[in-house]
Subunit: 125 residues, 2 copies
DNA sequence: TGCGTTGTCAACCATTTGGTTGACAATCCT
DNA sequence: AGGATTGTCAACCAAATGGTTGACAACGCA
């Protein structure tokens, strides 16, 4: 799983990490700060942060003994682009399908009513 | 990882599965059909499809011995909603931060020029 | 009925993941 | 210098993941 897009999806597949990201949209937080709501060790939280950092979702700077965690929201765009691209493609496909079905219905109607006697029924799009 | 959103993110964290989804936006495919481009066993592909199905991204119907796989694109909305919500929140936060910084700069300027003598510096937003 | 095609299920294996505890590094405070 | 706070690194463990092979079920075709 080497590419960034995979790392971003994988990072957000964990509810704890999603919750951290959600909280980081409000403000930067220290590690202890972030760990507070969860019933796991500080080390576990540190690992989660490493996953988020490797995905590029978060950066960690220094500030005395503290290491403030900062959200890098631009990475969201990577996902949004992928999702939107294929959703659009899927929707276009459904639109084409609808058109085909509509045309078949038209043909049906025409056949029944006998209005179009010299119809072309070629399948070329 | 019980919730659907986690399952969807996890499902798309794998490049092979993302590629399958991409191909399914073009047309439904049989399992053999889907497996063709990848250098793995048919069973492995079947497992990938199970992951996609459990995430609600795909449905499998019957058609003789064949099991056509169909993309359920609406599930994308689940992710899009989550992503957009927190991206918007992050952007709003940056906007507030920019406003604060701008205001501080104004105060700086005012102090230097001495134009505003009776300024209110309350922090209420 | 028997054969080929299409796909799933079960068992197994190596690697990754998410958690633990213990040691320790880095910095502030006195 | 010495103690408290904040966080990481390393070793370990159980469960999940992604792959394999072998057996077999469901259906079409001859």
């Amino acid at each position: 799983m080497t590419d960034q897009l995979s790392r971003v999806f994988a990072a957000l597949a964990d509810p704890t990490r999603r919750d951290m990201v959600a909280r980081l949209t409000e403000a930067d937080h220290t590690v202890n700060d972030l760990a507070a709501p969860y019933d796991v060790s500080l080390q576990a939280v540190s690992k989660h942060l490493k996953v988020l950092e490797d995905a590029g979702l978060v950066t960690r700077t220094r500030e005395a003994q503290r290491r403030p965690v900062h959200l890098e929201a631009e990475v969201f765009d990577l996902m949004t682009k992928w999702i939107e691209r294929y959703r659009r493609q899927a929707e276009e496909r459904y639109a084409r399908l609808d058109a085909v079905l509509a045309r078949m219905q038209d043909d049906e109607d025409a056949t029944h009513t006998g209005t179009t006697t010299d119809q072309q029924t070629g399948t070329a799009s």
